[in-house]
């Protein structure tokens, strides 16, 4: 069976080419496959909908780098969009070095649309120390004396009345590591009893699910799919929704590869 032998030794460049086509064609000509919204995504939406723009301030914690940003960056973009639509103010903080720069990408867009830095939102910057820094900031937000632009934090209108993490109405993390899940839960969420939800890279969804089901996480957004679901909820399609068709086709092609690889393996073995 020469054909089976050939099938088992297909040139990997053919696989790569097929994969490029499967991803590129739906990006150029979207198919519009419908998307179901998961309860974990809806939970985040409901919390933000329940907040009061007149009194509530939200804390956003950015713990991811540009590499994983391709999977996760669409989540903070759409969550921030929801906050701005509702007129909610937010404070950004980071315990990973690249976090403030990822946050700035969102802030640049907001400023170009007329939102005011220091009043509608602020980027406090990065603090070293990972879990310990989360604990330190949670107990006393004044550990950041200046924000990422050198402004005195105490003088910013948005920071008035905030001294600990409990003064925020809701905390949402965006993370590509365990720091934003177990780190936040250990140092702030469980000891202080705050409402916390998190957006994670797709591969972290299985490890974050136990915390969502136990109620420690109030919501969970998983990768591009989570972002796409959220974009549909706030009726503002963006990066996540635009990539869903490509993701579907990519998954289907991988599935086809698995089946084909196994068929050639099984029949080859019998021979």
């Amino acid at each position: 069976m020469d054909f089976l032998k050939k099938l088992q030794n297909v040139d990997r460049r053919i696989i790569y080419l097929l994969f490029v086509l499967a991803l590129a064609i739906p990006l150029i000509r979207p198919i519009g496959i419908p998307l179901q919204i998961s309860p974990a995504t809806r939970a985040v939406y409901n919390i933000i909908e329940s907040l009061d723009p007149a009194t509530d301030v939200v804390l956003l914690s950015f713990e991811y780098a540009p590499g994983s940003g391709i999977d996760i960056h669409a989540i903070p973009v759409t969550v921030v969009e929801h906050l701005m639509k509702r007129g909610l103010r937010w404070v950004g903080v980071s315990f990973s070095p690249e976090g403030p720069l990822m946050m700035n990408m969102i802030i640049d867009d907001l400023e170009s649309r007329g939102y005011k830095y220091g009043e509608d939102f602020v980027n406090l910057g990065y603090m070293a120390g990972e879990e310990n820094a989360i604990r330190l900031f949670s107990l006393d937000t004044s550990v950041f004396t200046t924000d990422s632009r050198g402004n005195s934090v105490a003088s910013l209108p948005i920071m008035q009345g905030i001294s600990t993490v409990k003064d925020f109405a809701f905390v949402h993390g965006f993370t590509s590591s365990d720091l934003g899940i177990a780190g936040w839960l250990r140092q702030a969420v469980d000891p202080l009893g705050i409402d916390y939800a998190v957006g994670v890279v797709t591969v972290s969804v299985p490890s974050a699910t136990p915390y969502y089901n136990s109620g420690q996480l109030k919501g969970l957004l998983g990768g591009l799919r989570g972002a796409a679901e959220y974009e549909l909820l706030i009726e503002t399609p963006g990066l996540g929704a635009s990539m869903m068709d490509a993701q579907s086709m990519g998954h289907l092609l991988i599935l086809g590869f698995i089946l084909l690889g196994n068929l050639s393996y099984l029949f080859g073995k019998k021979k």
């Binding site: 994969f19 086709m249 698995i258």
Partner: protein, 219 residues
């Protein structure tokens, strides 16, 4: 003394950190609460030490790569590129941090980050998809009963996660959710609890001076 002093420091600091989480009110005979002691003295020190650890890592990186250049090891030219990039990037960032009100410097730094580092990192991450595609064809095979269970679970989770799965069969997302919330969660919780107990026991051994590997050899 080289071992005893670090052990005493470890013990005292660890006791303060542990007690700060479970005690309230001032220490008898004083006006200081243990939680304040942790917040005002121990915690800031931990942050400073962490920041120094990052600096130490950079020094180590420099040592390894300057040695590679000096000895003209294979691909030493990449070590030159790494050191030059490290120096420019670190130098530029230091300037930005010392002049936070200089918007032009911050914008130029963002240009490097947004237009060089971000696309390069994203490309590295995206390459994984091609390896997965190739591996799915060559390696993901039903060689045993366990591998077959893993294979079927992976197919269901993949179809449940992608929107196209619900088009093929409307229950795929439900089955995927069940797999994540029952078998996966059971396994994850077992691992988490086991790791937590292991971490606690190891911490206790370090705290009591029974585990001394982190102090290095006696020489």
């Amino acid at each position: 003394m080289r071992k005893e002093v670090p052990l005493v420091i470890t013990f005292v600091v660890a006791i303060i950190v542990m007690l700060s989480a479970i005690t309230t009110g001032p220490i008898p005979g004083t006006s200081i609460a243990i939680s304040d002691l942790f917040r005002q003295h121990i915690s800031p020190w931990m942050t400073i030490v962490s920041a120094f650890a990052v600096g130490l890592a950079s020094v180590n990186l420099l040592r390894v790569h300057t040695r590679a250049i000096a000895r003209k090891r294979n691909d030493w030219i990449y070590s030159v590129i790494l050191i030059v990039t490290l120096a420019i990037y670190a130098g530029f960032r230091t300037y930005v941090e010392l002049n936070l009100s200089n918007a032009t410097a911050a914008a130029n730094y963002a240009l490097i980050f947004n237009n060089i580092l971000t696309p390069l990192s994203a490309a590295m991450w995206a390459l994984l998809a091609f390896y997965v595609a190739s591996a799915s064809y060559r390696a993901f095979r039903a060689r045993s009963a366990e591998a077959t269970v893993l294979l079927i679970s992976a197919i269901v989770v993949m179809l449940g996660a992608a929107p196209v799965g619900a088009l093929i069969w409307s229950r795929f997302p439900d089955v995927q959710r069940w797999l994540l919330e029952v078998p996966n969660m059971t396994g994850q919780r077992g691992i988490l609890i086991g790791a937590a107990i292991g971490g606690f026991v190891t911490s206790l051994r370090v705290l009591l001076g029974m585990e001394r590997g982190h102090l290095g050899s006696a020489d």
